[in-house]
Amino acid sequence: MSRKVPLARRQLTYEPVKLVLALLGVMLSVALVGLLFGLREGIRKQVTTYEDNAGADVYVAAGDTTNFIGSGITSMPLSLGRELKQVRGVDKAAPVTNSLVILKLHDKRIATLLVGSSPGKTGGPWQMAEGRPPKKMGEIALDNVMAEAHSLKAGDHVKLKGTHLDVVGLTDRTASWMTPLIFTTQRQAGRLLRSEGKASFFLITAREGPVSKLKKRIAKRFPKLSVQLKDEIAANDRTLMAKTFNAPLLIMVLIALGVGALVIGITIYGFVSERRREFGSLKAIGERNSKLYTLVSKQAFAIAFVGLVAGVVLQRATSTAIHDLWPKFLFVSLGSHYILMVLAAFVMALAGALVPVRVLARLDPLEVFRR
């Protein structure tokens, strides 16, 4: 009775160190791809932290404003709030002044998104980790992740644009790698930004009915203003900020894929070239090329599969560890990311098997008799 010899597996496990190095290479490449996609998604999520939590349905701003972050030229008189409240369906119209500002803490210059809102109205901090939201001039609440990184707590003081401010609270769920949120009163923000009596945005909360109809009513009444639903302005912020990373991300992912494919290629090529005589013997006794290709492909896919599983585990562990160590970095893994990682491993295996297959195709069965 003839038994099948598991040639592919035996060759793979014959040199454990080589196998481990190959798995390590694929694992790192897969993990890198996963981390990059996770980081991009995390940035996309952090970019819209304000819109996701502020509680407004519609954002009203001046002119062609399309974004909340980096909105730049947007200012409207505070009196506009009264007119907005008269539109049917508007429950509240809260003025908010926002701007990117640099907060100097110790020797670090931290880019933050300053939000000035009216105490007790929409637009202020939504969750406090410590202390209370700012209520009067000279008060500020800081994102707790940023505050912790700089050993700040409620009761401390910071200097922003030359003005001393009392830290009255630390806010939760406001962290961001790019621009953590900091909050003050709308009047204080106006004073700091030299735009007193003006607002960057009016945050509208709907009383009743579909918000899309409310948006239309406001836009009709104020044709020169920018009127956007929460989801629309959030989508614009995501596009503006996250697309910044698209090209560098694509470069990194392609390079990582190339590295993974080459690692598989080097390993399988090593097996093939060191066993030319054995493969020659197999050819000489009638083994078909297709069988040998299958053998090599099996090895490539086995490395890719195990590397993929290990890579996913590493990616999960690394993203958790990084987030635990530096909470400002958020990694969000989506189902599509895992599909991409599987595809990446598949592409690595296919590309990695190419060169060894070519070597096998050219191998002369007579080679075995020559030595």
């Binding site: 160190v17 001046a62 974004n67 210059r109």
Partner: protein, 368 residues
């Protein structure tokens, strides 16, 4: 006469295909590090493009504001007049600054500068460098991204501004610089009689460094910095924000490089174990063998580095064509860093195969 046999290179080059694969693997791992480094360098360079090229040795801003990137500075025009009236100042030119999203469908995050006579674009590719009312000068790469040219109109804050010139050298992956007249900017901002920053030229005989501290002491509402200090602080904002991330990516790239180089050298070494045993049998010492393996490792990573540099150059030409706002800058410092990383990578990757060779029994050569 006895010649020295270049065993390391012969061993390495005997299987050319494997060498090419190894070189490509190490090259790609190094490319991972180098491309990230060059994108980051381009960002750092662009973030200081304005203070570096505005032309003034000193820049004044609102008290305690030291940067432009992700900042906001506002000064009443009376402060500009005070600075102009200072005898130690030869010239003081206000500029208005604001960050804006240029375009509607394809948006580019941009610094918008409103200027009078000084502080405008420094390098033009096409058209006028002096925008008049309701006109704008944008960077050539921004224009490509937005799909517009000279004569086209772009929307900012509800107004349509005519593109009258294309500048260069102001765009990076994080932002760009666009220029309008001071009046246009005042209209866009809805404010009159204020400035964001003041460009200052010292009077004859005044050193920029000393004048900066004197002006800051005598004018309570401003922070005055030399353009070098200003640029340093701009760079710090970006590097403080991204250092951890960049370092993490560099570490991953480094480990990948070590693994790939280690794998190739290990594979090359184990396929020649008999030859190494032979060398041991005829009296070659382990130290010499280690040296040989290290040379192979260094040669592999050096070849990988060369390939990475060629690929990087190609990438730096290709990437801006695919996405005009992404630029890559290759500096001698980053190449030197890459050489150092490569050398360390090579030496670490030689460790595993060296251990394997150390364990080879010289007598094994006679057994088979």
């Amino acid at each position: 006469m006895m010649g020295v046999v270049p065993l390391a290179s012969r061993n390495l080059l005997r299987q050319k295909l494997r060498f090419v694969l190894s070189m490509a693997g190490v090259g790609l791992a190094l490319l991972l590090i180098l491309s990230l480094d060059s994108i980051y360098t381009a960002v750092l360079r662009q973030v200081t493009a304005y203070p570096d090229n505005a032309g003034s040795p000193l820049i004044a801003s609102q008290r305690a504001v030291e940067t432009m990137h992700m900042s906001n500075s506002a000064l009443p025009m009376s402060v500009v007049d005070d600075l102009r009236g200072d005898k130690r100042v030869a010239r003081a030119e206000p500029i208005l600054y604001q960050t804006v999203a240029l375009g509607r469908k394809q948006q580019v995050y941009s610094y918008l500068i409103g200027f009078r006579k000084k502080g405008g674009p420094w390098r033009m590719v096409k058209g006028s460098s002096r925008p008049k009312d309701s006109e704008i000068v944008i960077d050539k790469r921004t224009a490509e991204r937005l799909g517009v040219g000279v004569g086209a109109k772009v929307r900012i804050a509800g107004r349509r501004l005519k593109v009258v010139g294309l500048a260069s050298g102001t765009t990076s992956v994080i932002s760009s610089v666009a220029f309008v007249s001071y009046k246009t900017m005042e209209r866009l901002l809805g404010t009159v009689g204020s400035a964001s920053y003041v460009l200052i030229w010292p009077a004859k005989g005044q050193s920029a460094d000393e004048l900066a501290s004197k002006l800051e002491r005598d004018h309570a509402k401003v922070t005055v910095q030399t353009k070098e200090e200003f640029s340093k602080h701009e760079r710090q904002v970006v590097s403080d924000m991204s250092t951890g991330l960049i370092r993490g990516m560099l570490i991953i790239g480094f480990i990948v490089g070590v693994v790939v180089a280690g794998l190739s050298i290990y594979t090359a070494t184990t396929s020649r174990l008999r030859e190494y045993a032979m060398l041991k049998a005829i009296g070659m010492r382990n130290m010499k063998l280690y040296g040989m393996i290290s040379r192979q490792a260094l040669m592999t990573v050096a070849a990988g580095l060369l390939l990475a540099m060629v690929l990087l150059f190609g990438l730096s030409q290709l990437v801006p064509r695919l996405d005009p706002i992404v630029s890559m800058v290759i500096t001698p410092e980053s190449l030197l860093r890459a050489v150092a990383i490569t050398a360390i990578m090579g030496l670490i990757s030689a460790l595993l195969p060296a251990r394997r060779v150390a364990r080879v029994d010289p007598a094994s050569v006679y057994r088979s």
